[in-house]
């Protein structure tokens, strides 16, 4: 009797896994701004809200209050792709930490001792129906001050 029930549950496990994965996808899309393309919800090619249409802007704020845009090099692009796909606190903090590390390297043009904060913004692009005129709107913004635990 019990063995029969276990068999039945096992037989449905792949379908249950797919349903769980898809529900998680919808939850993250609606609550945490996940790009509908990713996360296992089968939303690829269904919307213009894809990672490449989510520009990320990183600004370094110096102790004197000056602001300078930061351009990420290739090894950090992967961290940025994560942050723009799911711009939650955890991924934005990871991007801030990686950026801080990159600023500490030679040739960044910024003095890490002079860095007061990093501001990270993720935007998304929408297009008008007839003219395709693009509009940017801010999805997420977070400032990580030097000395913060998570950034």
């Amino acid at each position: 009797m019990r063995q029969g029930r276990v068999r039945k549950i096992l037989a449905w496990l792949p379908v249950l896994a797919l349903l769980a994965g898809t529900l998680n996808h919808f939850w993250l899309v609606s609550r945490h701004q996940l790009s509908p393309w990713l996360g296992g919800g089968f939303g690829m090619f269904s919307t213009t809200d894809v990672g490449s249409a989510r520009p990320v802007f990183i600004t370094a704020v110096t102790r004197s209050g000056d602001e300078r845009p930061v351009t990420l090099r290739e090894p950090l692009r992967e961290v940025m792709r994560h942050a723009r796909t799911l711009p939650d606190r955890e991924r934005l903090a990871a991007l801030a930490a990686a950026t801080r590390e990159a600023i500490g390297e030679e040739g960044s043009g910024l003095d890490p001792a002079d860095l007061a904060a990093l501001r990270i913004e993720v935007w998304r692009t929408r297009y008008d129906r007839d003219s395709l005129r693009p509009h940017l709107s801010r999805l997420a913004e977070k400032t990580f001050r030097s000395g913060d635990q998570d950034g």
């Binding site: 792949p14 089968f42 269904s46 490449s52 395709l132």
Partner: protein, 217 residues
Amino acid sequence: MDEVRAGTVSRLRLATLECDSFELAAKLTFLTPLFSPVGDWYIRPLILCLSAAGLLVPDLWRSRWLWTLLALLTTLRVWQDWILADNHAYLLAYCCLACAISAWLRDARVLALNARLLIGLTFAFAAWQKWASPDYPNCVFFLSTFLLDDRFEDFVVLLTSLTYEQIDLARDYLEGDYRFEPAAEALPFAIPVSFRVLSYLSMAWNLFEQTLVAVAR
């Protein structure tokens, strides 16, 4: 030459007919990572070796341990790539899991049930997200994607009156930084009718075929 080709085709057809449905599904699943290798530097060789062994060693496709290992490795790959793993990664993991469970339970009907439901649900979710999308049924998705995604560039130039230069101009316009100043009213050229027709047909066809597969399952 034609005789050789006809012989090969009939041998393939015979081999396919001789396979039972689980064997056929198993062998096609083994082929997937062989044609399109997946995973990190240490997962990839393992998946490749297991898949090749499943194809080459007689009766290994029935092995519950082989399928369990493949299910674990493909799931590990999804977990590693999360959140950037694409749909194929999830589907391969679900498919290997269904094969593993079917092999453990020694019941091909379990695989048949899962195959039908996995395909049906995948297409249902894909179709539903397209129907519900704010920019899919109104064609904005295809109009912008055909201009921005360079994989479609040749296709668009071949089938519409757009030129490569116009596509470059459109990219500059569509990808500009408009945080502080709004974009100009429209593209620097009029969108040709042929391009609108191509986008409309692409949208209609995709909605139709994905909905059809979902309903048919």
